[in-house]
Symmetry: C2
Subunit: 455 residues, 2 copies
């Protein structure tokens, strides 16, 4: 995570400059920056501006091809905000200029009424109509329909000729897909093989028949796992008849991996949506959901504690160990849950056969529990020596052992249960586990303490 | 994160089969599976076996090229375990067959004595010696030295001829890098451009002069961010004289992004190392570190609470709200810290100029604080109506507001402080923030309560 700072200033400086220019409405100067900056960088810089500033900057862009590129690189939210002030015709023009997969993402984000009119306005044979059929986070939703297909009767020379003729459409192809007369995928070869084989070589002679494909409905994370495992530049999406519908390219996979990781991280912390924009109230609202669960759990815990009021009145010191029992249980639970989520994501833990994992976590919990119970018990024993407080040490030791052991079982199994219920298991690692474990820990602690006091 | 299950069984089945065969020591049957399975899949399946089983399976592999491939795909730990039982000559033979970047990783992991002897045994001009100079997680450590270089006087036809002659060394090249007579990088073009240009075209006519490069010392995460932003297949690593030392390819970037995300996730939860191996005691040990911080914080909190023993004896009910004050503060702190870590990773938050971010988080904290203070205060007010308990509602309201506001400031600023100190900010989001915020929350709560009781 450490970073060399020697190249950052370049972007940081351009970004700061752009921000200043937009705020001063210096159109001529902005045009100068635009002329020497890549659309990727403009899009990245725009993410740091307010919506109004983003719209103002975007209106300055004159070259519509460049504008379409910038739009393709913007985050979903920014893209929607930028298009909000445009006419229908402007949106249609931009969508027609965008790569079909980016265009489909954008069209999918538009308000219903505008989307329908934009779809009508698109060029007749636009691929956007087809791509909109698939969910956003599926292979179908991520694929590009631009595929370099060749019949299984063709030669390398013919493939090269096709590439030369359709240069602009095939600009992002890394592989040649070879199809039979029913358009079924039979093999694949790389552009490099075309270069290094004599032009007369039949494609079937140099193609690989073992092709890793995905179905259009397959989840984007699964696609990402294939691309990562087999070091692919692109993976073809095929229907049941093995006809190629499109390809998911590695640059989209990189985006998927990055956004899924960020999403998981935020979910783990109980933040429901990643966005740097919106007012303070909106931000608060996005985080309040899981905090409400914490509040509900906390109120529940308070009722448990208050129900032991007479025990507490006998020994107010008991209250002192509430934080440590809660803290240690919660953190052990989060550790187990995180290891479980990571295992489910990487495929190391299968839903079927997760028992050995939970059993291992339970044993780790017992080891940790024994260790910390000994530590806390000793502290309690040495610290509270008065005869009416002598129960504190044993009470803290027993209850921390139990709380830690239960926490590791709950933490390791909840994500697996969530996955089975088709809920994102990352949710389980956040406030959910801690709240559950907190309540359990407190119930254990007071029960053990009361039992020890009265015996 | 949802997943279609239709393709999983294939791998799950092969993996389960392999595991059974290894446990039964069925060599002939294992060879049959090996013959029809990709080395990537064998490596993935091996990760689920014990070290002893991994070694047993690996010894069955006869084809040394295949064995080298499997070794390249294994995790660091597995690779070390598998080589542990080999002779020096066997390791040298495998290292010589591996891709230089994978070989370098492996050599870097070997015990010192073995590493020195293996390095001596390597083929004279092995690139491993050069690559070992750079840190593991830098561009230099991640690069492959196999670069397709052409002089700036060459034509497309000459480039194609070079590719045909050096087919095996250049098997992973996606671009042609054009260098001047001093070996300085002047331009780049794609294999696709070679295919679609007449053979006589000079390379300088079709090359792009704007090249995104990295220095060998640059952090791998920065490299990943470039590759992701500009949709590159490879990024050249150049020295100060712009001579190409190697290229980092997109498949390695995918691995970097995945492993950094997993590492961050585990760090956030206070698990110091990702591994599915080792005994229960080792696992416990890896997690105990941060838990010790929790224990220390908890004991500190208990001392604070006990110092208010007389207040508690006046109103034992006070203890009931310890969990909710701690829970809400801790969770708000983690939310702010996670948003900060994510922003630092994506580059959205710069260390210079982080103040607006902390200020925004502080305001979000106040909004959340007001909301939950009202809620908890109302609950306390309605639930505890006896005259000697009437202070509960206001005490809970005031202290939860303060605890939440402080939590968001601490949570948002700690990761930035950590980054500045060159410590991984993800550490700040785990037990560290919660422990700090817990102690603060409790101190606030009891102070407010005592003050309200006595006034």
């Amino acid at each position: 995570m450490k970073r060399a700072d020697n190249i950052r200033p370049l972007h940081a400086r351009t970004e700061a400059l752009l921000r200043r220019l937009v705020r001063r409405d210096a159109e001529a100067a902005i045009r100068k920056v635009l002329a020497t900056t890549r659309p990727e960088d403009i899009a990245a810089a725009m993410e740091h501006l307010t919506w109004a500033e983003q719209r103002r900057l975007y209106r300055v862009i004159e070259d519509q091809g460049y504008a379409a590129d910038v739009l393709g690189f913007l985050s979903d939210q920014s893209a929607v905000e930028v298009t909000r002030s445009m006419t229908e015709d402007q949106v249609v023009d931009l969508v027609n200029r965008m790569e079909p997969d980016d265009a489909t993402d954008l069209v999918g984000l538009l308000p219903d009424a505008l989307r329908d009119r934009v779809l009508e306005g698109l060029e007749g044979e636009s691929a956007v109509h087809d791509l909109l059929r698939w969910p956003d986070d599926s292979a179908g939703g991520r694929m590009s329909p631009m595929v370099f297909r060749m019949p299984d009767t063709a030669t390398c020379g013919q493939a090269i000729a096709t590439l030369q003729q359709q240069h602009s459409e095939l600009a992002t192809s890394h592989y040649v897909y070879i199809v039979d007369h029913q358009q079924g995928l039979v093999g694949v070869t790389s552009l490099r093989s075309l270069l290094t084989s004599p032009p007369g070589t039949p494609l079937v002679r140099i193609m690989t028949r073992e092709i890793i494909t995905v179905a259009p409905t397959q989840d984007q994370e699964e696609v990402a796992r294939f691309v990562a495992r087999y070091d692919l530049l692109a993976i073809p999406v095929v229907d049941e008849a093995r006809r190629i519908l499109g390809v998911v390219t590695v640059d989209d996979v990189v985006d998927v991996i990055r956004s899924e990781a960020a999403e998981d991280m935020l979910l783990m912390a109980g933040v429901s949506e990643a966005s740097d924009h919106g007012g303070i109230l909106q931000h608060g609202w996005r985080r309040a959901g899981w905090l409400l669960a914490t509040i509900a759990g906390g109120v529940f815990a308070s009722e448990i504690i208050v129900s032991y009021e007479s025990t507490l009145e006998e020994a107010a010191v008991l209250a002192g160990f509430i934080p440590v029992i809660m803290g240690i249980g919660g953190n052990v639970g989060i550790q187990s849950a995180t290891v479980a989520v990571r295992g489910l994501t990487s495929g190391a833990i299968q839903i079927q056969g997760a028992l050995p994992f939970v059993w291992r976590e339970a044993r780790i919990g017992v080891v940790l529990g024994l260790f910390f119970a000994l530590m806390l018990g000793l502290y309690g024993y040495v610290r509270y020596t008065a005869s009416d407080e002598a129960f504190i040490g044993p009470a803290v030791a027993c209850s921390s052992l139990l709380a830690i052991a239960f926490a590791s079982v709950i933490g390791s199994s909840l994500p697996i249960v969530f996955r089975r219920l088709n809920v994102d298991p990352a949710i389980a690692t956040g406030p959910f586990v801690t709240t559950l474990v907190d309540i359990l820990g407190i119930a254990i602690y007071f029960n053990v303490a009361r039992w020890l006091i009265h015996s």
